[in-house]
């Protein structure tokens, strides 16, 4: 471990890995630290990602693809199922990854590009000088060290403590923290090509329950509920156990995990002097789906591109790093986050009865396009009586 790098990356998930790889390829000296003793584990993820989203960054490899997904099904409280197929049946629309292998592959690529990688090494504080971040104090397997850098990228996920220590408020409001639990269940009857989303206030209040296939008879069966709905006896784990007891009583649990997914709006500003915040730490998780892998890779890569220019120019001030913040907000991802936040706010306010009505209205319709906007347009078209309520949705599409 050197005492000075061009870039220091805190966290070895997809955001940190893409950032480290991109910056190293641009010729910078890069250090990536991961506090856990192994990259990719324990997973905190349902492991789904859209095909387009993935292909932008890496070619699919059977070593870390658990399942090819052809459709999604939304299951309303009364059991009405809305199937989202795409035009050509049998085509892949997304994947369920094996994050343990996938994350390693990404960090491997960063290492190959020349980045230094250290596991079981955690940041304990930013090194601050004149209000600017100049590196981090770290604990590397029990030995304290200082790592200085022109720019630090905070990629420390949901916990997002590094940016907080540097003065940015990353606290997630309770109601916008999805409290999640998930089992990897095997020996269960599933549609191995479909991601299933169960909705309803008795199933998953202000969230959803998912069954994401990991193979023919294996799936990530998990749930996210709003933190404000979480109480003793009605926590994420309780809802999940009830669902599994009813639907997969014979299932065998291979892995049990918990986690928090921030579904709040992104940080008001994702840069500071000497600091950039990327991935889940920047709160760029899709607030509707809870998906964060693609956005993590996108922000990681973009931040590293902007940082590379700033390092070369010898100016990593907030103003110099700002193009990163401006560009992701103006990007397709930024627009989609904005829209899906409004869509999420609409759906969590719906009672089960209205959810059933909406689901029934589109259940028999073949949706030609696999997208949130196509679904919303169809809902608006088919529910003229709910025009008033649907106005918020309509506005979200603008």
């Amino acid at each position: 471990m050197k005492s000075k790098y061009d870039m220091l990356v805190i966290g070895g998930g997809p955001a940190g890995a893409l950032a480290a790889k991109t910056a190293a390829e641009a010729g910078n000296t890069v250090c990536l630290i991961e506090k856990r003793p192994a990259i990719g584990t324990p997973i905190r993820c349902a492991e789904g990602i859209g095909k387009e989203c993935l292909l932008e960054f890496i070619q699919p490899d059977p070593r870390w693809i658990s399942a090819d997904i052809e459709r999604a099904r939304l299951i309303a409280p009364n059991g009405t199922s809305v199937s989202l197929e795409q035009e050509n049946p049998g085509n892949t629309v997304g994947y369920i990854l094996d994050r343990k292998i996938f994350d390693r592959e990404l960090v491997w690529q960063a290492a190959e590009a020349g980045a230094d990688i250290f596991v079981k090494t955690r940041a304990t504080a930013p090194i601050m000088e004149g209000g600017a971040v100049r590196g981090a104090k770290v604990m590397a397997t029990g030995s304290p060290a200082d790592i200085r850098a022109d720019v630090v990228l905070a990629a420390d996920g949901t916990e997002a403590q590094f940016a907080r220590w540097a003065g940015l408020d990353t606290t997630v409001p309770l109601r916008e923290m999805m409290s999640c639990a998930q089992y990897l269940l095997t020996d269960i009857d599933i549609d191995a090509a479909s991601t299933d989303f169960y909705l309803g206030n008795d199933v998953a209040p202000e969230g959803y329950l998912w069954v994401f296939p990991k193979g023919e008879r294996t799936a990530n069966v998990g749930i996210g509920i709003s933190g404000r709905k979480s109480r003793d006896g009605s926590r994420a784990k309780d809802y999940l156990d009830r669902f599994i007891g009813k639907n997969f009583p014979e299932g065998k649990t291979i892995e049990a995990i918990a986690g928090g997914v921030p579904v709040c709006q992104p940080l008001p500003c994702t840069v500071a002097d000497g600091l950039m915040v990327i991935g889940d730490a920047a709160r760029v998780v899709d607030p509707l789906t809870g998906g964060g892998i693609g956005n993590a890779m996108y922000t990681g890569k973009l931040a590293a591109q902007v940082a590379s220019e700033c390092i070369s120019a010898g100016d990593c001030s907030k103003a110099a790093l700002m193009p990163y913040d401006a560009e992701w907000r103006a990007s397709r991802m930024g627009k989609s986050l904005e829209r899906n936040y409004k869509v999420k706010e609409f759906f969590i306010a719906l009672d089960d009865k209205k959810l059933n009505v909406l689901a029934e209205s589109v259940a028999s319709v073949g949706l030609a396009e696999f997208s949130v906007s196509a679904l919303i347009r169809e809902l608006i078209k088919r529910n003229p009586k709910m025009l008033f309520e649907l106005k918020a949705l309509k506005d979200a599409l603008r």
């Binding site: 506090k35 905190r44 079981k120 403590q161 606290t171 997630v172 309770l174 995990i257 918990a258």
Partner: protein, 61 residues
């Protein structure tokens, strides 16, 4: 009487959900160990958010 946060380490899934909602930055997840700093105000927000029910605000005489 004082209030404090009790961590049930047998239930804790060391997932860090509590860390992100803590308004005082009083919790830190160090690998599989959730550490509680002195700044805890026993507000109970973390206990609400915990997916597994591993946290509890207790009142002691």
């Amino acid at each position: 009487m004082s209030t404090m946060l009790r961590i049930n380490r047998d239930k804790c899934g060391y997932c860090g959900t509590c860390v992100a909602v803590c308004p005082e930055d009083a919790l830190e997840l160090i690998d599989a160990y959730l550490s509680l700093e002195r700044d805890c105000i026993a507000c109970g927000i973390c206990a609400r958010a915990c997916p597994l029910g591993a946290l509890e605000v207790v009142h002691e005489e």
